[in-house]
């Protein structure tokens, strides 16, 4: 199991730091270059769950690939725990679950975990124990000796999560972790994220399931057309500044009518909470983003 070790914040660098990142794909054979990400900057603190959301084609996956060193930035930089993301050593502390993960179909679940564990420098009894622990954690113990080619979508996501965790990374990058997974499997993955978050693991997550993102994320960044259009703490982002929310307990219909007319002085009813009503993350998302293909 992952060992929880406390460390003072001053000692640890930012888990992820993306500075002024721009990524342009050169068009082949006279085609126009495509700017996938423009001047993107954000930081993720250690132990935080950061949600990167945006419509399809907004540059989320490109940003993740840059963070993993799979793509090189055209301008700007990305670093993971102080290491430039281009350096292979930066991946020592990173686990990645790609969208629709594919694994070698000929390997069993256990063999898959052992293979990825070996790539991370594990071996011997440590590797065997870690693989078994991850199979246990992701609920795949009974399917451990079945070939991955026969796994369902949900099982593939879970074995993907298990391989991402095999080397006890400090940062997990999850690209659509619940895409195509049934509600029960989806909840299981969500619970797993919360459990791992409690152990101090940092997350960068993308998902189109905004309700779930709302449940797990500490902060979110909303991308549209390669740019960061909104970013901040979830609580702050979904507060509506020019409205007030009153939560009343035990009010009758008549009293509610009175409350609507005047807010104070009604007998038997009390104001339990006075604050700002919230929109949903989904509404905010739709308001602030432009779907790919729409005019700028």
């Amino acid at each position: 199991m992952i060992e929880e070790k406390k460390q003072s914040k001053s000692e640890s660098p930012k888990a992820v730091s993306v500075e002024n990142l721009t990524k342009i794909f050169q068009g082949a054979m006279g085609r126009k270059p495509l700017t996938a990400v423009r001047e993107l900057s954000f930081n993720v603190a250690p132990g935080e769950v950061y949600g990167l959301i945006g419509p399809n084609g907004c540059g989320k996956s490109t940003t993740m690939k840059v963070m993993l060193g799979l793509l090189k930035p055209t301008v700007g930089s990305a670093s993971v725990f102080g290491h430039d993301s281009d350096a292979v050593a930066s991946r020592h502390d990173v686990g990645f679950l790609p969208e629709n993960p594919y694994f070698y179909k000929h390997l069993t679940g256990r063999e898959t975990l052992r293979f990825f564990g070996k790539l991370c420098g594990l071996g011997g009894s440590e590797l065997r124990d870690r693989a078994d622990a991850m199979l246990d954690l992701t609920g795949l113990k009974n399917a451990a000796d079945r070939r991955v080619g026969g796994y369902s979508k949900g099982m593939l996501q879970r074995i993907g999560l298990a391989q991402a965790l095999i080397h006890e990374p400090r940062l997990l990058i999850l690209d659509e972790p619940t895409a195509g997974v049934d509600p029960a499997g989806s909840r299981r993955i969500r619970d797993l994220i919360l459990e791992l978050k409690a152990r101090g693991i940092t997350f960068v997550v993308t998902s189109h399931l905004l309700e779930q993102m709302q449940e797990v994320c500490d902060r979110v960044g909303i991308m549209s057309q390669g740019r960061m259009v909104r970013e901040g703490r979830l609580e702050d982002l979904i507060s509506v500044e020019n409205q007030t929310e009153i939560i009343i307990e035990g009010a009758s219909a008549e009293q509610l009518a009175q409350v609507r007319a005047i807010f104070a002085g009604s007998s038997g009813a009390k104001i339990m909470s006075l604050g700002k009503p919230r929109t949903t993350l989904e509404r905010l998302f739709l308001e602030t983003t432009v779907q790919t293909g729409d005019e700028e």
Partner: protein, 303 residues
């Protein structure tokens, strides 16, 4: 944030033989489970059929023809395995996006390439070793049967003098199982290794399995006929230019004719140790060159 985790105590090493071995053995498992070794069964059928063919020929001719057919099959199988196995790996990993998962681990790209190439070479080497052992067994059996039949014939002609028997044994042994046979198989492996590294280079440039296979086959055929190409195209050039052009051509296109030592084995002649060492050196140079260029291309490739 309640707590944070410390960096893993495992140290990252720029080159790890264990990681390369993990990639190589996974490649072997992948190819074995893709049933690529079914080719070996076909080889067994060819060897057995060739062993019982040509019964009317002289003993020497029978053994020569058996070796000729088997070495032909060995070369075809090793080249087909080298190209198809290599072409199935890298483009497929890109198409399936398995490559993302692998390279998101602390795996340098050169280790990935070396691991994949080593896996293919292990598979070809293992396959050739099996074929060599099987072929040696069949050749030895055929040799024993022919020797016994010839000695029987001498007996029936009442000319089974020790000198005659020794002469028959020597003649058949000359064309039978010798260490030379294994040297010939080694040369077949060297050629396959060069073709596999060429296919690896092609797979770094290409975007699909089919393209890799087609281009690699074209290069292999052209490489096989490079000697012919040189003597035909460069014949009118001055000696110095001929040498320069030949060298450049040999760099761009592997001179696979360098590895064709099997004819000597078929004829019953031995391959000199110096030739074997030189051939091995050429193969190593080609493999390093193509793998190096493949790395240069792959390390800059955006995934």
């Amino acid at each position: 944030m309640s707590s944070t985790l410390k960096s893993s105590p495992r140290k990252y090493r720029a080159f790890s033989p264990a990681r390369v071995w993990a990639l190589a053995t996974n490649t072997v498992t992948q190819l074995v489970r893709m049933k690529i070794l079914f080719l070996l069964l076909l080889f067994v059928v060819i060897v057995v059929a060739a062993a019982f063919a040509f019964p009317t020929r002289s003993p020497e001719q029978q053994l020569k023809l058996l070796k000729d057919v088997v070495f032909g099959a060995l070369q075809v199988f090793s080249i087909v395995m080298a190209i198809s196995a290599t072409a199935l790996l890298l483009p497929r990993d890109v198409e399936d996006r398995t490559l993302y998962t692998i390279l998101s681990k602390p795996v340098p790209r050169h280790e990935y390439l070396v691991g994949k190439l080593l896996g293919v070479l292990l598979l070809i080497g293992g396959g050739l070793l099996f074929m060599d052992v099987f072929f040696s067994g069949v050749l030895w059996l055929k040799q024993t049967m022919i020797t016994a039949a010839n000695i029987e014939a001498l007996k029936s002609e009442q000319s089974d003098t020790p000198e005659n028997i020794a002469a028959v044994r020597a003649l058949i042994a000359h064309q039978g199982l010798t260490w030379n046979l294994h040297a010939g198989v080694w040369c077949v492996f060297l050629k396959a290794a060069v073709v596999a590294s060429l296919a690896l280079l092609m797979s770094c440039i290409a975007t699909s399995t089919l393209f890799t296979i087609l281009v690699s086959f074209c290069f292999t055929i052209a490489g096989q006929g490079q000697g012919l190409l040189r003597s035909f195209v460069f014949k009118s050039l001055p000696v110095t230019w001929k040498k320069i052009c030949s060298f450049v051509l040999a760099l761009l296109l592997p001179d696979l004719g360098l590895f064709d030592q099997v004819q000597a084995v078929i004829e019953g002649n031995s391959i000199p140790l110096a030739t074997l060492a030189e051939t091995t050196g050429f193969a190593a140079a080609y493999v390093v060159l193509y793998a190096g260029v493949a790395h240069l291309i792959f390390s800059e490739k955006e995934l």
